[in-house]
Amino acid sequence: MPSAEHHIGAPRSRIDGPAKVTGAARYAAEHTAPDLAYGIVVSGAIARGRIRSVYAAAALAVPGVIQVFTHENRRRTAWLDYSYKDDVAPPGAPFRPLYDAEIHYSGQPVALVVAEDYETAAYAASLLAIDYEVAEHETDLEAQRAYAYVPSKKRSGIPPPPSPRGDAEKAFGEAPLHVEGDYSHAIEHHNPMEPHASTVIWEGDGKLTVHDKIQGSQNSQRYITSVFGLKADDVRVMNAYVGGAFGSGLRPHYQLFLAVMAALELERSIKVVLTRDQMFTFSYRPHTLQTVRLAADRSGALRSIRHDAVAGTSRYEDYQENVVNWSGMMYHCDNVALTYTLAQIDTATPADMRAPGATTGVFALEIAMDELAERAAMDPIALRLRNYSDEDENQGKAYTSKELRECYRVGAERIGWSRRSSVPRSTREGRELVGFGMATGCWEAYLQKTAARATLTPDGKLEVATASSDIGTGTYTILAQIGADGFGLDLADVSVRIADSTLPTAPVQGGSWTAASSGSAVQAACQAVRETLLGHARGLHRSPLANAGIEQVEFRDGRITFASDPARFVTFADAMRAGGVDKVEAEATAAPSVVTALRYVSYTHAAVFAEVRVDEELGIVRAVRIVSAVAAGRILNPKTARSQILGGGVMGLGMALHEETMMDHNLGRFMNHNLGEYHVPANADVHDIDVVFVEEHDDKVSPIGVKGLGEIGIVGTAAAIANAVYNATGKRIRDLPITLDKLL
């Protein structure tokens, strides 16, 4: 018999799993329409300059080619930069596809070839000849570092570095123990399995239905209406299934613009799917040059923290992330100075990629902490506990919860930390050196304003609806769990409608806020339905629940039952009949509490541990074990939760050992733009990843006590592995990825 909390907290399989594995789930590129035309994007060859001319005659002459769109014949679109700004655009002038002859970066779209079928479009695209006027470019961040600047406009939601506190420089000079190092990681691309794609269905009369690869249907919807001057009612965007995105789908990308433009121009349905190479032409985790300087007294207490970062951005937008603030908040220290500047290179604008900023900054800080532990002759965990802080040191606010101590304890136990030798290069097994490393992970726990609707019908079926997305995280499943527990239903009795711009307002799925935000909204909507339904039940003639309050009743088995006397109940159907309704529907909104925000901050924490084996002569690293101990408030579904941490862990492993987009600075072009040469970890690289959630009760972070798990799995992982490599080999590698040549 379903009890009050039957599904929440239980390891439930994804309710959309069967549709995904049988192919019934349709992704953006898999929708079709009568008379569908196909568009192939032609990518530019140079890094900077102008298009002198486009020779389209040969392409246009191919039978079946409908049109070749370029800057010369594109549709007129909005004039102001403002109109091109989507919900998460950084400050600047967003890139406008096919706007003019200007080339801003290599791989920029320069034409869209539309034909009756895909093959014809692809063939015709290969016939397009483009003549460029080449200008000087610079794609090397090192070269541009001299021109780094503090962005004049801050990106919404990204806190700039706090003002310095104390005197970090002086304290550094006075303290007995120091470490200082330069850190960097390679440019990384998100590389979700599903390429970006948009299928735009022309419904007639200027109405469009769009299936887009996006992390928020309403973001695309607003972008389209704003750029093309369309009425909100005429554009419906859906993103029913998203095959991974990791941030690459937060902003609408050029394939959407091009598909909509062609559909409007040709008054026809059209599909545009990017190739894997083209997945390297719009967003990436920026190259960031960091310097961290720490000083401590002999007890390991931090006396000075300085963290400076120069991050790459494009020439047209000031993309920003929070890279350095972590260094001011995670540990107690009175003297802190943090800087974050940007330098422009001729590439597309970088974009949020799983735990943007934290992944970058915490990697540097947590390696520096490992170096400091050695300098202080302390265990790395002991050093972190010595500097443990119960408040966000930047803002002087308490955490709504922080069970990080427990993460350290449990993680250390699971990895077998006691086996670690504090002397690097002192443990061997056969030809391999053995090493252990650890790092702290941290990510903000957000709640974003989100609306949801719940509808209960007399047959005991519930529908919950919100425009939120499921980018593979399990949104469908957790919303079904929350809805089911609201009324004591089976999961199968709940239908979840999400991923549609016509549904109640929800933000893009990012920042790990979806479970907390849409979950709280759904719970609130269900609560409103429960109250209305109870009202109807009370109104029944001689109602057994006549005086019952909402806390006194339970909803289960299709009935509202008096908790202390199960013989007193009213069925859902009878209650609705009494109320003269055939359904009960309510909409509710969850939003962050302003009062809580005045006094508290909320973060998810993790302690990540790694055990590595390094072939001493050949430099090959195997990360044989990773333990991720996470404190993330309430875990709605341990199964989907674990998957998120596993995925983050694998991505962190990739960052540590494999992933690197290589730029040819002479050509200003990324060169290894395919999955054969851009190395994400393969199964052989991924060994044992142990995920453990520590108990954490938090009644302030969100109405449902949830913190979110999408990004915490990657933060700290690369540092833990790099620290383990040091412990194994005695080689401190501060430039990721740690490829074998760096260990020879």
Binding site: S43, E617, D664, G676, E677, H679, A682, L744
Partner: protein, 337 residues
């Protein structure tokens, strides 16, 4: 991808006649050719499908070796009982490459003729002497982590990417070919060529010549061999450096050695002089290091691949050690012994 005509070859003669036309390409498994066509690197106006030709057998030869038909899939070859027992080096090298799905599709002949993985070669927005002779070689001053250290020229520093071919070079296989002017045999070491001033030409095949089979001599070095592949992830990546090593030994001394490297040159790099240095020497790290130094005597690195010289030296020593000890590298457990 361009439009092309498709022809299914009914006979070897027909295929060879068709392939003599430079605008025609032969297709076997298609795992390389189709990718290149999608990237507009290869733009054949006609594709001749040879997969129906009777070139799918592995047969005993009179000399006591095996003759492998050009259409034997890489997987079938690797798992063939005779290959596993008599030429485990070949089996191991094949299993070190690509993925199961690719190996199921890839053919023996296609593996020999697969083209380099140089990033520039695959990207038609960039110059490349191999793709478009005379346009230059951006890899020399560009991203050259995966490029060659031996036998390069100023015109091209690409590598041959095959694993299987490294084993075939070490085993001194022979390539059987048939062309419009009849059949001939090519020693494996003469099949692939160095870039010189014509990097657009990968092999010594003449126009219209089709690989029909690869023949293995009787000696398979089944007791003492290894294929050691070092790469940027533990599976599904091309070799930075790979070593096929095979030994015949007696009483702790090397009688005969075979040593070929992958990932370092425009062809599988077998060095007979280095092999000869080992003959008669004790099977010791010192002799192995001396052979490695000799093999690498002319190695030349570029900005991002200079590490390959030292890596190759260490890999050769390790591989010869594995071979001497009779403990070949496992291709399933990725731990290097």
């Amino acid at each position: 991808m361009n439009n092309f005509e498709y022809l299914r070859a009914e006979s070897l003669g027909q295929a060879a006649a068709a392939a003599a036309d430079p605008a025609t390409k032969i297709i076997a498994g298609g795992t390389n050719l189709l990718d290149l066509m999608k990237y507009n690197v290869e733009r054949p106006s006609r594709v001749v499908d040879i997969t129906r030709l009777p070139l799918k057998d592995i047969a005993e030869t009179e000399a006591g070796g095996l003759r492998i038909g050009a259409l034997v899939p890489n997987s079938d070859l690797a798992y063939d009982e005779r290959i596993k027992a008599r030429y485990p080096l070949l089996s191991s090298a094949i299993l070190a490459g690509a993925s199961p799905q690719l190996r199921n599709s890839a053919s023996t002949g296609g593996n020999l003729l697969q083209r380099t993985r140089c990033y520039y070669f695959y990207d038609t927005a960039t110059p490349c002497n191999k793709r478009e002779p005379g346009t230059g070689c951006p890899a020399v001053h560009g991203q050259n982590r995966i490029h060659a250290i031996l036998g390069t020229s100023q015109h091209c520093i690409a590598t041959h990417p095959s694993d299987m071919c490294v084993a075939l070079a070490a085993l001194a296989a022979t390539v059987h070919v048939t062309g419009p002017n009849g059949s001939r045999d090519i020693a494996f070491g003469d099949f692939h060529r160095l870039p010189g001033d014509a990097p657009e030409i990968d092999t010594t095949l003449r126009p219209g010549e089709i690989v029909t089979a690869v023949e293995l001599p009787p000696e398979g070095f089944a007791a003492n061999h290894t294929y050691l592949k070092l790469r940027d992830r533990l599976s599904y990546a091309f070799a930075l450096v790979s070593v096929a090593a095979a030994l015949r030994q007696e009483g702790g001394r090397v009688v005969e050695a075979r040593l070929a490297l992958g990932g370092v040159a425009h062809k599988p790099w077998r060095d007979e002089a280095a092999e000869a240095m080992l003959a008669g020497k004790p099977a010791s790290p010192e002799s192995f290091a001396a052979a490695a130094d000799h093999l690498l005597r002319d190695a030349k690195g570029h900005e991002h691949n200079a590490f390959k010289i030292e890596l190759a030296r260490r890999a050769i020593v390790r591989a010869l050690g594995q071979a001497a000890a009779g403990t070949p590298q496992s291709q399933t457990d990725k731990r290097i012994r």
